[in-house]
Symmetry: C2
Subunit: 194 residues, 2 copies
């Protein structure tokens, strides 16, 4: 199944090949060295004032099963049904205050998005897939992981190898087979031109 | 000058080579085909409900000089001093409302960050550099580009070829020569492990 983006002009293959599957191969674990590299990619992302406002909770089903289980429990139910097949589950959190002066970092949420995108590039380069979710239960995450104050649990990340579609539950397989579409360039460039 | 990230484990070269210069080569233009590919990379980024809440204003000094000039005028003064050497200047904007129901998109700012990170990967792959800024004048941008309502001007992007350090103003060259540092992995992983 080729899920590569049908781009109008050629772009780097880690961006073309990236997609967010619902079907993960539950039998195929992700090596710890790969997870480490994904976090290294996040770590070296650019950020406003080099504040690095991204934080992650990292659960591996085989190596930190308790955390994996807790992260799964922080996803909304509709996401738990498919994300439970991903051998690695993370939460992405935003630190909204600058460490040096306690002021609000206007770029913080933006910069978590950038870090998780870098993580996803590294995952794609390694043959892994990432499916991010905004559908988490932030209050449960705060309680379960003792998070408070200016640190906000924002996203969930399911990480693993995409499953052979033939093995995927038909409802999820249908979602994974949907045509991949994007807005026209003219809809996202609101002024100016290339 | 090798500004590559000193990563603790190997990651994809587009992530290792990426850095945000203050010194841009003002003499070397960026081809329109390259700018088009950068926007295509942004376009195919993942987003919550595939809402694609990112918008861009795109100014090329050689091809849309009026827009380039206006974007430059929307940066805070401290950023104008160095960003004026970048032949392409963009603004990144966030659409905070879902098109289909007008509700707030909690992931919108995060997803602009992801799109601009994809754009930056494509730029790095093409030998270009991107330096993003949160230091813009949002109200000026709203006025100049007729932006209102739920659309928020958030970032500036300076895009071009990094300058030969020998040709860069000494104050900026000093900034560009600073050691590149990141938090320890233990500071960004707040629970769990790889």
């Amino acid at each position: 199944m080729d899920r590569s983006a049908k781009t109008e002009v050629a772009i780097h293959e880690t961006l073309t090949r990236r997609w967010s599957p619902y079907g993960f191969d539950a039998e195929r674990d992700v090596a710890g060295a790969d997870v480490r590299a994904l976090l290294e990619a996040a770590r070296w992302t650019m950020s406003s004032y080099n504040e690095q406002p991204w934080r992650y909770v990292v659960g591996s089903r085989s190596r930190s099963a308790d955390v994996w289980e807790k992260v799964l429990g922080c996803l909304v139910e509709a996401n738990q049904t498919w994300a439970r097949n991903a051998p690695v589950l993370m939460l992405g959190l935003v630190e909204h205050e600058f460490a040096r002066n306690g002021k609000t970092n206007k770029a913080a949420t933006h910069d978590l998005g950038a870090a998780s995108a870098s993580l996803t590039v590294e995952a794609t380069a390694r043959g892994l897939s990432v499916h991010q979710m905004i559908g988490i239960e932030p209050d449960r995450a705060r309680e379960v992981f003792g998070v408070s104050g200016s640190l906000e649990p924002l996203t969930g990340l399911a990480i693993g190898y995409a499953a052979d579609p033939a093995t995927v539950d038909s409802e999820l397989a249908k979602r994974d087979a949907r045509e991949r579409v994007r807005k026209d360039l003219s809809e996202i460039v609101i002024a100016g031109s290339v």
